[in-house]
């Protein structure tokens, strides 16, 4: 039987030593952003990071970069090593990557814990990892200069060599690594000027591609340990339900079944493989205690939310005097919006492998949240965090689901391992994953807006209704202020347009459905609402949607650049589109990056067809342009899946959808052409994983209006009747 490639002992020892030595040097610190989101836009400028925690140079000149972010498709196993290699003057062809274990030295520079999310991997590592690379380069040069007895100033580094410029003497990094590692850290580190970059700014091929095209890349589901059992869990069909009684007589008779156990989340079936576990689970008879039963149903919740949207809520933003503004209105409109719960539906269903012993717990999983998961696993197992080891495998998609603030899938796995006493792999079926909650919240909005005689917005009142993602999580203390969850109003309370009387209010009702961040979080809904309403105002004012937006954006706004770049490349207002095709536009800022998207749409038999999307992005300095293109394309597809088809609904407290036939992602035949244009910038790099998602739904909805005169105010669009 194949066993997983656990870390080899020397690496483990190395990391243990480096973490013990160095963890005292690194402090976590929080920098609240203007919109309440936390991540380090500006990292500690003088911090010196220990290079040996991130770089290992072997005698054969191979360089291993230890990456402290999870690779879920967004390209961090390429872009983060690029930051190090640039300053290290490393030979890129000799770079390989390993995932970091859990240790303080690997904490996110802004979050103060190991976490991949918030489109923050590049912005939070931009200074840190370049300084890591530069520190190592300085030490390698110093080691060479000492060996040669020459001044450091006479030496330089290039392509993994240190060269004595005068004599041409050279020594490879591999030959110098041992000596360099014994030197004290440099006191100051100078970073390159961008004009000297050799790697940063170039489209470099992904380092993880070879193993992802020959089947050898290891995802969590691919971990097999000797003697390991596969476990499927029958969970309550109702959120918060408990097992009342169960009968496993028939299930136990199946060959391969090794045991059936009651665990806190349901009934766990342990077997020699997936298939016996699945067939045995299907034979269980379980009576559930569903608790009080809230009789949750989507139509009822929609009605309640829409009712609430008309009532005063907590004030998230209040400029001018909205009441007075509406009194002076030339024209006004109001509209209601609804968006459903959404599952993340990563291609790889959730799974966790746990090997639990009396004094040690080893976990293999594709997680985005190592520090929280380790703390939760330790607490569940009755161990100290240091006794829990997490191996982060490749993630078969994350989209936020694998950073669960309650560590739901990890805690459950450790609970099962405790009961079974053998190495276990907990596998969620697609149905389990779809019905497992932790959804993007459903939201309802009410907007009333007015324009003045000159067509410009005069008053805007936006009320948002939806569950708080952050409430009751470890993030509540710094992301919920005065009852307002920053993620519920992001993109709405941060509306960039000049509107003298602007009010945004929030209701955060509670219910039993667990909610979680989903690619672009609050923006996934607010961009749809505000950017379709702005389009309505443009129409009301009789203005072109692009010109109208440019007319009401502040002069120095970075929104303008992306809007103009997208419009130019789409030929907005100039290009003659085929008959029955129309353009729609939207622009939005999220994770400090600005994205405009123009969608070319037609209708066939009432079905929306998106032919082409022209996107323009301003994410500050770009590390890997092809990586940016991939992320924007991916974010558009993710947003388009939700806009056209995505909905999780409830009937009698139960989730209706179960698999890809009724929770439908965008398929190949629906894929639009996508062009990505990047604004040249020398600003600090900002997020790229999520900002492409928010503008696509409103861009498509605005195009549909152009075609039909009908406003789409409810997602998904395939449930609307279109002529």
């Amino acid at each position: 039987m194949k066993t997983t490639t656990a870390q080899n002992p020397s690496r483990r020892k190395f990391l243990k030593n480096s973490a013990a030595l160095m963890s005292g040097l690194v402090i976590g610190f929080y920098l609240p952003m203007k919109n309440g989101r936390v991540f380090a836009a500006e990292e500690h400028p003088k911090q010196i990071y220990p290079p040996n925690a991130f770089i290992r140079i072997a005698a054969d000149d191979s360089i291993t970069v230890i990456v402290n972010k999870s690779e879920m498709g967004q390209g961090v196993y390429t872009s983060l090593p690029m930051l190090i290699a640039e300053e290290l003057e490393a030979d890129w062809n000799r770079i390989r990557v390993e995932s970091a274990p859990v240790a303080a030295v690997y904490n996110h520079t802004g979050f103060g814990m190991q976490l991949t999310g918030g489109s923050s991997s590049i912005p939070s590592s931009w200074e840190q990892l370049r300084r890591v690379g530069a520190s190592a380069r300085i030490l390698l040069i110093r080691a060479a200069a000492q060996q040669w007895g020459v001044p450091e100033s006479e030496c330089h580094a290039a392509s993994s060599w240190v060269i004595h410029t005068k004599s041409g003497n050279k020594s490879s990094y591999g030959a110098l690594a041992d000596a360099a590692a014994k030197l004290p850290l440099p006191e100051t580190v100078e970073l390159k000027s961008p004009k000297d970059f050799k790697l940063i700014g170039k489209s470099i091929k992904r380092l993880d591609t070879p193993e992802k095209i020959n089947g050898s890349a290891q995802f969590g589901l691919d971990v097999y340990l000797p003697g390991m059992l596969t476990v499927l869990i029958a969970r309550s069909p109702v959120f918060g339900g408990k097992v009342k009684s169960f009968n496993d007589t028939e299930a136990r008779k199946l060959p391969g079944v090794q045991g059936i156990y009651q665990v806190p989340t349901g009934i766990a079936v342990a077997a020699t493989g997936f298939w016996p576990a699945k067939t045995a689970r299907d034979l269980l008879e379980i009576e559930w205690d569903e608790g009080p039963g809230a009789a949750l149903s989507t139509p009822k919740m929609r009605a309640e939310y829409l009712e609430l949207a008309k009532k005063p809520g907590l004030v998230a933003r209040n400029d001018g005097d909205a009441v007075q503004g509406f009194k002076q209105a030339h024209k006004s409109i109001s509209a209601e919006y609804e968006v459903p719960y959404l599952a993340h539906a990563a291609m790889e269903p959730l799974n966790v492998v746990v090997d639990l012993n009396t004094d040690h717990c080893t976990i293999w999983t594709g997680t985005q949240a190592q520090t929280m998961d380790r703390a939760s696993a330790a607490k569940t197992a009755g161990l100290k965090p240091e006794q829990v080891e997490i191996h982060t495998t490749f993630l078969g998609g994350g989209f936020g689901r694998r950073a669960n603030p309650r560590s739901d899938f990890v805690i459950e796995a450790v609970q099962v391992a405790k009961v079974i006493g053998k190495p276990v792999k907990i596998v969620w079926t697609r149905e389990d994953d779809t019905r497992g909650g932790n959804y993007r919240p459903m939201w309802a909005d009410h907007i009333e807006a007015a324009i003045a005689k000159d067509g410009k917005p005069l008053a805007w009142k936006h009320t948002i209704v939806g569950q708080s993602i952050i409430a009751d999580t470890p993030f509540e203390a710094f992301m919920v202020r005065n009852g307002i969850d920053a993620t519920s109003v992001e993109g709405a309370a941060t509306l960039p347009y000049v509107i003298p009387n602007l009010q945004v209010e929030l209701h955060s009702p509670k219910n039993a459905v667990p909610v979680q961040w989903w690619r672009s979080v609050g923006h996934s809904h607010t961009a749809f609402v505000v950017e379709t309403m702005i389009d309505e105002l443009a129409h009301l004012a009789g203005k072109d949607p692009v010109a109208y937006r440019l007319g009401i954006l502040p002069a120095a706004s970075r929104y303008r650049g992306v809007l103009q770049l997208a419009a130019k490349n789409a030929g907005w207002g100039k290009k003659k589109l085929p008959a029955n095709h129309a353009y729609g536009v939207a622009v939005h800022q999220s994770f400090d990056s600005y994205v405009a998207e123009i969608a070319e749409v037609s209708l066939g038999n009432g079905k929306i067809r998106v032919h082409r999307v022209v996107a323009a992005v301003d994410c500050g300095m770009v590390i890997n342009p092809d990586g940016v293109r991939q992320q924007i394309e991916g974010a558009i597809v993710y947003g388009l899946s939700a806009a056209l088809h995505g909905a999780i609904t409830l009937e009698n407290d139960r989730v209706v959808q179960s698999n890809f036939h009724d929770y439908v992602p965008l398929r190949f035949s629906e894929m639009p052409q996508i062009e990505v244009h990047i604004v040249e910038s020398s600003e600090h790099p900002t997020g790229i994983g999520e900002p492409g998602t928010p503008p696509i739904a409103p861009a498509v909805a605005n195009a549909v209006f152009k075609l039909t005169g009908k406003r789409l105010r409810r997602m998904p669009f395939d449930q609307e009747t279109l002529a």
Binding site: E348, G396, Q630
Partner: protein, 155 residues
């Protein structure tokens, strides 16, 4: 006992004949490149070749493989076409998270075997059963067109 060839190697497994081929490949033969995504032929992550044709192994009982040749992503490079497709995937740098890519590559290879120069519409039709949540569809299309081109060049 069910006998078949997998990636050219004769193999025998002692399992319930209704067990989907996917779980025999993964749990019994430990070839983990073939992925589980949905279990109901909705996503294509489990695509393998049975006597050269693309099938969804998650809904194919292992008994149907009896006496036949199964090819998984691990064995794909043994054919010139398989190598060509993988090289095109590398050239275009297709994968993001990568989870669906084994299935994508197996479907694309089966398409090119039957139709060495598919039109864009034929590519769309052949690849419509393979989901990708990261949005690599356009890269997949480019890679298939490149593979077709390279294959033509080798003729």
């Amino acid at each position: 006992m069910i006998s078949f060839k997998i990636n050219g190697k004769a193999t025998k497994v002692d399992v319930d004949p209704n067990t989907p081929l996917l779980w025999v490949i993964r749990d019994h033969l430990q070839l983990t490149g073939t992925k589980y995504g949905c279990g109901m032929a909705q996503c294509g992550a489990c695509t393998v070749h049975l006597d050269g044709r693309a099938i969804r192994s998650c809904v194919t009982p292992v008994s149907l493989a009896s006496g036949k040749q199964v090819t998984t992503i691990e064995g794909l490079a043994e054919t010139t076409l398989g190598k060509t497709v993988q090289a095109a995937w590398q050239e275009v740098d297709v994968p993001q998270c990568g989870y669906c890519q084994s299935g994508q590559i197996m479907s694309a290879t089966a398409l090119l075997k039957e139709n060495p120069h598919p039109s864009e519409a034929q590519i769309s039709a052949a690849m419509d059963g393979n989901l990708c949540r990261c949005g690599t569809y356009n890269s997949i299309r480019s890679a298939i067109l490149k593979a077709a081109e390279h294959q033509g060049g080798a003729k």
